[in-house]
Symmetry: C2
Subunit: 209 residues, 2 copies
C-alpha cells in the first residue's frame, strides 16, 4: 500500500535496492515516529528524520518514495501490531462475547501504551489517501474483519441477536474508537475503568439475544 | 470561533468593517462551499473563491482572516443548520426515545441532502484546530449536548436504562456518524433503510431499561 500524491505532483522515481536492510528501514521508522509525536507530521522534513536516524536523504529514498509513504508504513505497522494482539485475545478461551470483551481490554492497553500518539495517527490517517483507499477506512476494515467471525460465532451459539455481523463489527470498532478519542480528550473527568464499564454495559445489552 | 494557524505563520491583521454586509459574507461562503466540494479545500486559492463570488481579494479579507477561518465559518454554519433541525425533532410529540429516533431521520435526511459534501466537511474538520479546540470535537459536542437532555428525560420516565447520559449522548452521535460515513462509502451494498433499521435495532436494545 502506498500514499497517493495530490494531483500534479509527480512521483520521484525510486532506485530499487537489491537487498534492502530491514534494520535501516526500522531505524528510519523509529526516528520518524518519535519526531511525529513531538512535532506533528505536516511540518516535518525528511532531512530531520534522517538526521535523527543517522542516515542520509539518499538512503531515505532507497526505502520510501515520500514522507507520506513513510507515514502509511508507520500506520500500517501500528495497525498490524494491534490487530495481532487482538487476534490473540479473540482466539483465547471462553465464550465469543467474553473474547470480544478481552479484545476491548487489549485495545485499551494499546491505547494507554501510545496515548496521544494513538489519536495523532488516527487523525492523520483520516486525511491520507492510499492505493488501498482512505487510510482510516482501511484500518477500520482491518479491525472489523478481524472481529466479524467472532460475532458470527456469537450469533450461532445464541449469545448475540442476529444483527448483520458486518455492520455490527463496523459499529463496535467505530464506537470504541470514538469513545477512546473522547476519553483521551477528557481524562480528567473519566477513568479508563469508567470508559470500559460504559462500553461493556452499552454493548452487552445491544448484542444480547 | 476562529482557526488557529500553524506555529510561525503570523496572522495578517484584519481591517474591521464598521457595517459588514451579511449578503457579501454569504456570497463568499456559497462560492467557497461549491468550490470545496468540486476541488477539495487544500488546493483551493482565495483568488478562485472571490472570482466565483464576483468580489476582490481585498473584500475577502474584510470578512475572513484566512481560508481556514472561512472553512470554520462554513462548518459552523452546517453544524448549526443540522442542530436546529434536530432540535425541532427532539421537541416534537411522542416519548423521549421516539423523538431520538425522529432526530435520526432528520440527520439521515441532512446527509442525503449533502452526501459527499457532508463527509468531506467531517473529515476536513478533524484536522482543523480552532480557538474552541478541534473542530470535529466541537461539532460532536454540539450534537451530544443537544441530545443529552432527551436521554435524561428517557431515563427519568424509565424508557432507558440509567447509563451515564453524557457518555451515551457522545456514543450515539459518534456511532451514528461513523456508520453514516461507512454507508456513504458502501452505498452499493446498503440502502438508507438498511442503515436506519440497523442503527435503530442496535441502539433500541442498548438503551432499553
Amino acid at each position: 500500500m502506498s500514499a497517493i500524491r495530490p494531483a500534479g505532483r509527480p512521483r520521484r522515481p525510486r532506485r530499487k535496492l537489491q537487498t534492502p536492510n530491514p534494520e535501516v528501514r526500522e531505524r528510519i521508522m523509529t526516528a520518524a515516529a518519535d519526531l511525529i509525536l513531538e512535532r506533528g507530521f505536516p511540518d516535518l522534513h525528511i532531512e530531520e528524520i534522517v538526521e535523527g536516524a543517522g542516515l542520509s536523504v539518499g538512503t531515505f529514498y532507497l526505502y520510501f518514495d515520500s514522507k507520506a509513504d513513510l507515514f502509511v508504513a508507520l500506520a500500517t505497522d501500528y495497525t498490524e501490531r494491534l490487530r495481532s494482539r487482538m487476534s490473540a485475545a479473540y482466539q483465547s478461551e471462553g465464550s465469543p462475547l467474553q473474547r470480544v470483551r478481552r479484545g476491548l481490554d487489549v485495545y485499551l492497553d494499546f491505547v494507554e501504551e501510545y496515548k496521544e500518539g494513538f489519536v495523532y495517527f488516527l487523525r492523520a490517517a483520516d486525511g491520507m489517501m492510499t492505493s488501498a483507499g482512505r487510510l482510516s477506512a482501511w484500518t477500520f476494515e482491518v479491525h472489523a474483519k478481524n472481529l466479524q467471525p467472532l460475532l458470527e460465532e456469537a450469533i450461532r451459539v445464541g449469545e448475540m441477536k442476529p444483527l448483520n455481523p458486518e455492520l455490527t463489527a463496523q459499529a463496535l470498532v467505530g464506537l470504541t474508537q470514538h469513545m477512546v478519542t473522547y476519553w483521551l480528550d477528557n481524562q480528567d473527568r473519566y477513568s479508563r475503568e469508567e470508559l470500559r464499564a460504559f462500553l461493556t454495559a452499552a454493548t452487552a445489552v445491544a448484542l444480547a439475544p
